[in-house]
């Protein structure tokens, strides 16, 4: 490590980092209560816990974003004070946030160079940065073109840039905040490879997650937090998913599955040869044919980017159909706006819940009425009926177990799982006839997953026609009556749940039709 390192103060490599008795008190809340945590060189240490268990707070303390009320941090036995991310970086700690901190309109090399002094004083040294970036990319298997603009890159590639950025700054210890939440299954595999490469190069990794199988698959040790306290810290060897789930939640979790046979009714949703364009103007749907009947769940499996998002948007009226027809309840709805589809009993749990699902500056109650704000019981003659809205919101908060300080809290302040519950409460309380659920459990914790799955099954019992689009194959397999596999904008095949085995679906997902 040559020029780029020269600017950093001389320091020891992090061989052992300890956090001892960390307590962080926010007004009225103890976010971390005497938490001990440590990570050694070359180790992947998982930090596991439900949303709000105190994982982020602990890591923000380590990265210098918060100062703890009590406790100390030691590196190689020496106490250190970390008062800002700048201190953390100087000590060799790098953090990869869930939401990337990259400038879209700059290139990879420019992003990496951002904020670093140039080796040529007043003239940029982007060529040096690019060369060094390529070297690092080579060593760690993080393939990305230094000249590419960030906006041109897929999510997985952007994450690689973030990691390269931290590597470039000489980080020994990486804090990865739910790094897989935004990745496709393939990208997850690649990412796991990168992590292994990083530990082989003697880097340490703190892996924040609530996905149990990832902990089992990739981590050496695991620390579980619950309600701000450390409830366990042990080697991953010999732990089962069930053990971890129990530690995390405090009681047993069994994800619900379909058990009853479908009570199939009439066809509620029908697509005929539907074509549509993607955001970039390429053909995203190339003739989709699909039927969903009342009382069944049709799961849509597929590698991300094969038209699933566009499929959901086309059905809900958010994207234009260029060719083909869509029928809801036997009525043609091709080209109808979302408002009309709403009247036909269409409910939608959008994939991008922060963008499409909620208005984060609006309160929980304002979000609850989003789809019906102009109708009884929420409004009369153009006036909002605040008292009734409050009553209904409070009831939904209880019914859907939305954990919020009050109905007047801005929805954006809630945790991911609870935001999804707000969406769920709004969509399901209308007893939908057709429900489109796109990635309904992405990025939410296991308690919320259980809850969401249960609600989908309840809706099925109640006779809704449900289209479940998910990249989580386990989710599709355990909830669907039939499984449709998408590949390059077409439905490769639709299998009955009993014939849908992983191997077969895997081939279909790759575009191969089994003999």
């Amino acid at each position: 490590m040559s020029q780029s390192q020269a600017t950093l103060p001389l320091r020891q490599k992090i061989e052992h980092l300890e956090m001892r008795g960390i307590t962080k008190i926010f007004p009225g809340v103890v976010a971390n209560d005497r938490v001990d945590f440590d990570v050694r060189e070359g180790e992947v240490h998982a930090l596991l816990g439900e949303n709000g268990a105190g994982k982020s707070t602990l890591m923000k303390i380590l990265y210098g974003l918060y100062e703890p009320n009590e406790g100390e941090i030691r590196i190689n036995g020496q106490p250190v004070r970390i008062r800002s991310p700048k201190d953390a970086i100087a000590l060799g700690i790098g953090m990869i946030h869930q939401h990337f901190m990259l400038v879209d309109t700059l290139t990879v090399a420019e992003n990496i160079a951002l904020g670093l002094p140039s080796s040529r004083r007043f003239i940029t040294d982007l060529d040096v940065v690019a060369r060094r970036t390529l070297e690092l990319a080579e060593t760690y298997g993080l393939h990305v073109d230094p000249e590419a603009y960030i906006w041109q890159l897929a999510v997985g590639q952007r994450q690689r840039v973030e990691i390269l950025k931290a590597l470039y700054r000489g980080a020994d210890l990486f804090i990865l905040d739910e790094p897989t939440a935004v990745l496709t299954p393939q990208e997850v595999d690649e990412f796991m490879g990168t992590m292994r490469q990083m530990t082989r190069e003697r880097h340490s990794i703190i892996f924040i997650t609530h996905k149990l199988h990832e902990v089992i698959a990739t981590c050496d040790r695991v620390t579980v937090l619950r309600n701000g306290r450390r409830v366990a810290s042990r080697p991953v060897d010999g732990c089962t998913k069930l053990d971890l789930a129990r530690l995390m939640v405090g009681h047993d979790i069994v994800l619900p599955k379909i058990t009853s046979a479908p009570k199939q009714g009439e066809v509620r949703l029908q697509l005929q040869e539907v074509h549509a364009l993607s955001e970039r103007g390429t053909l995203a749907l190339r003739g989709v044919n699909l039927q969903v009947r009342a009382g069944e769940i049709v799961g849509v499996a597929g590698v991300s980017g094969n038209g699933q998002s566009e499929l959901a948007e086309v059905i809900t009226g958010l994207r234009r159909v260029t060719q083909g027809k869509i029928f809801v309840n036997g009525q043609e709805t091709t080209g109808k706006p979302p408002a009309d589809l709403l009247q036909l009993g269409m409910a939608y749990i959008p994939e991008e819940r922060m963008r499409d699902g909620i208005i984060s500056d609006f309160t929980v109650s304002e979000n609850v009425i989003l789809r019906n704000h102009n109708h009884a019981p929420y409004a009369r003659r153009g006036f909002l009926l605040h008292r009734i809205i409050a009553e209904i919101t409070d009831r939904l908060i209880r019914l859907f177990d939305i954990r919020t300080p009050s109905r007047l809290t801005p929805a954006g302040n809630l945790s991911g799982g609870n935001i999804q519950k707000v969406v769920l409460a709004r969509e399901l309380s209308r007893t939908p006839k057709v429900l489109i659920a796109a990635q309904p459990t992405r990025g939410v914790d296991i308690g919320a997953i259980e809850f969401i799955h249960k609600n989908l099954l309840d809706q099925r019992e109640a006779g809704a026609a449900i289209l479940l689009i998910s990249e989580d194959l386990d989710e599709v397999l355990s909830l669907s009556d039939r499984v449709a596999v998408m590949y390059e904008g077409r439905i490769m095949d639709i299998l009955d749940a009993k014939d849908a085995e992983r191997g077969k679906i895997g081939l279909l997902m790759a575009g191969v039709r089994p003999e």
Partner: protein, 382 residues
């Protein structure tokens, strides 16, 4: 000391006082400038204060100045809440004034009919002028900042032409030194004067009543809900079944309507004729721009706009008085007003940044709070 400052700067309560602190800061810098010019700032500011509040007439003038600021500020509250940047209140006010004065001069009806109709027509004229950039933005994706500013230029030229030509006072038309102004409106059409001999007119009551109307509109009607929703997140609004382009048009249209009404009230309540000095702000007195600052100063809240408009009215009236008393150049008054505007707008931006930062820090805390609240529901662990 450093700690003390840090604590003051981080206090949540500071947010509410930020605009006031910003305005004060502008005055402090202004004091420095006065010193450099060899004027005692205390004398100058005292003159300013008494010019704005010193006696009944001063107070009345302050309120008279505040009326158009409040009306335009109300409109700005609506459009900015929808994230529609209406910079065109100047033009909308001019068009509202032109059309209402043309109506008032053309008809010969009883006052109880002509006065409300004249004001309504001004309201509608402003609405029409606002609707044009609204439609351009909503359906042709034309940036509203550019289009509203250009609409201002068109309105100014229209005014200069009409007041110097077709609408010109016939007496003026025969005089030698022609002034760009219309004839005087029929006595019966004038808005009542509340406190003669001051110029305080009933327009202030209309503006105050409309503040409450806009408050109800924004926070208690479905239309207000849609406007705010679109401003916060057009994607989620569309998914929620809201026709986003329609709300954009409505927001700009309403915003223009309030500016148009301000123009009509300026004529029916104050001057009884439309008059300009040939400069672009000759008729409006810059109310179309100052109204934006008023709205921002009031936190884009229609009730907050009331004290805000009073403050800026006082500033404008007081500045004139200061100039008379202390002989500071008139450009200093412009500079002082400009500084107040810059500081207040910067404070508004800073406030937003602070809120965003706080939200990021607060998110963890809130979810924790909620988590704690539900601990009792969790079964005891074995």
């Amino acid at each position: 000391m450093k700690r003390f400052f840090a604590r003051v700067l981080n206090a949540r309560q500071l947010d509410n006082f930020l605009p006031i602190v910003a305005a004060l800061a502008a005055f402090v810098i202004g004091a420095g400038m006065l010193l450099l010019m060899g004027t005692n700032p205390l004398t100058a500011y005292r003159a300013m204060f008494s010019g704005a509040f010193g006696n009944q007439n001063a107070l009345a003038e302050t309120i008279v100045k505040a009326v158009p600021l409040l009306l335009i500020g109300l409109g700005i509250c609506i459009s900015f809440r929808a994230k529609v940047m209406n910079i065109g209140a100047e033009g909308q006010m001019i068009v509202g004034g032109l059309i209402s004065v043309a109506f008032g001069l053309a008809v010969d009806w009883p006052g109880w009919l002509a006065l409300p109709l004249g004001l309504l027509i001004g309201f509608l004229g402003g609405a029409a002028w606002g609707a044009i950039p609204g439609i351009l933005k909503a359906y042709f994706n034309v940036n509203e900042i550019l289009s509203t500013v250009m609409m201002n230029a068109i309105a100014v030229q229209l005014m200069n032409y009409l007041l110097g030509g077709p609408l010109m006072d016939p007496q003026q038309a025969q005089a030698l030194g022609k002034l760009p102004e219309t004839a005087r409106l029929n006595e019966a059409y004038h808005l009542a004067r509340l406190l003669p001999p001051t110029r305080l007119h009933a327009g202030v009551l209309i503006a105050l009543a409309l503040s409450f109307v806009v408050y109800v509109l924004l926070f208690h009607t479905t239309l207000g809900y849609r406007i705010r929703a679109v401003g916060f997140n057009p994607f989620a609004s569309r998914y929620g079944g809201i026709r986003v382009p329609q709300q954009v048009v409505i927001a700009l249209l309403l915003s223009g309507a309030f500016a148009g009404l301000a123009g009509a009230i300026q004529i029916y309540g104050l001057n009884y004729r439309m008059i300009t000095d040939g400069s672009p702000t000759g008729f409006t007195g810059g109310a179309g721009f100052n109204g934006i600052v008023t709205a921002l100063f009031g936190g884009l809240h229609p009730l907050g706009a009331i004290p805000a408009s009073f403050f800026f009215g006082a500033l404008l009236v007081g500045a004139n008085a200061m100039q008379r008393v202390t002989q500071v150049p008139s450009s200093f008054v412009t500079v002082l007003n400009g500084m107040v505007v810059i500081f207040v707008v910067s404070a508004a931006i800073w406030k937003e940044l602070r809120e965003r930062q706080r939200r990021m820090a607060f998110a963890t805390e809130t979810s924790r709070l909620a988590e704690l609240a539900s601990v009792s529901e969790t079964p005891p662990q074995g």
